[in-house]
Symmetry: C2
Subunit: 221 residues, 2 copies
């Protein structure tokens, strides 16, 4: 299949974009990816955290992870990030929709071997998930690094899809006495739950207390 | 690849389950799936809504959707649902984790052709997303049904993975003056935004106002 075929935006081109700024904003607003790969024609889709540095995504996990062991061979992979922004409730069943932002990225991964680069990549993932945390915690030991695989996924090609705004009904349906509008949805954080074994006197860090601002970055709500 | 190989829980078996009750609870708590399939060894992962009826999942979309056209041929597919429940902040970078519930389901899909079954399947998807809505809106016309493809995905095999609870640190790390605990995360709804063209006198339905109870069903927060 030609690369262009993979991300060709066929159906609703006005919802689609190959613009890097849009793609990066979505990748930076999300933190959970669905990573797809094929083994003997069998697709696997595995949820995993990620970090971004330019056009590279970093994935990590146990050195024993089947997904990472497959991906590190360099096979074709697909990394998809989808953010749900709201239910779009129209007057007809047919015109119901979803407000969302999504990225589908194609490429392949290679193992990060260099120790310094490996630590840097882990920091990128950690800071992507919760900025400020890395400097606060004990860094990885040699043994822990050995038990961890880090992959660098190079995005060869990607497309973004975004739907925003109100429902769009058939002209004939606007006269129906049906509630219509958008129900905004989004990931929010709740009150932090301190560990039972927390050392006395340790205060809640600002980056945990204000995590919701991270969740809303580049969001449309 | 033998079916068992696909969902064999290798790494952390205590987090994994083949129990149908757990699997169904997770599928019912989520509404967005990542659907994977392979074309000439190239994986595609596409986010899509779904509904569940027993061991069948229903997917729908435009009859022109590339994903649905590939899947309706009956090729091997993977449907993954992942729910994020919290960030697990430990005292070391290495022991950081995520509280989550996920299902990876393997199987294949076939097109729902029978008109009555098609409408029933669409209702299942709609009610899964927002129970109570279907009865309120104009049902699909023949033309709209023709423009819609509905697939029935039969789950042949599935596994669930769940992580809950506090961070687990190395014994040596509990003495570090680092804040540790869980930051709960979850999808929440915001205040509904009525459509500008809403008919006068139409009130906000109860099932929209109380949508958060749906988001929390079977959740652990």
């Amino acid at each position: 299949m030609s690369p262009e075929k993979r991300t060709e935006l066929r159906r609703i081109p006005d919802r689609g974009s190959h613009d890097w700024e849009t793609i990066n904003q979505i990748l930076d607003a999300g933190f959970l990816a669905s990573v797809g790969f094929c083994v003997d024609g069998q697709p696997f889709v595995i949820p995993t955290l990620y970090g971004r540095d330019g056009e590279k995504l970093y994935l990590h996990g146990s050195a024993a992870s089947r997904m990472l062991r497959e991906l590190e061979t360099g096979i074709a992979a697909c990394v998809t990030v989808a953010l749900v922004d709201g239910l779009v409730l129209s007057r007809s069943a047919f015109d119901h929709s979803m407000n969302y932002r999504s990225v589908v990225a194609f490429g392949n991964a290679r193992k990060v071997v260099d120790q310094e680069l490996k630590i840097k990549s882990l920091r990128i993932i950690s800071e992507h998930l919760i900025a400020g945390r890395w400097a606060d915690v004990r860094g990885p030991s040699d043994q822990e690094l050995k038990a961890t695989t880090v992959l660098e996924f190079s995005i060869e090609e990607a497309s973004a899809k975004v739907r925003r705004g109100p429902p769009l009904d058939d002209e004939n349906d606007y006269g129906l006495p049906v509630w219509a509008g958008v129900l905004p949805l989004g990931i929010k954080s709740g009150p932090p739950i301190p560990d039972d074994k927390l050392m006395e006197g340790v205060v809640l860090p600002e980056y945990v207390r204000r995590y919701d601002t991270r969740l809303n970055r580049h969001g449309n709500t």
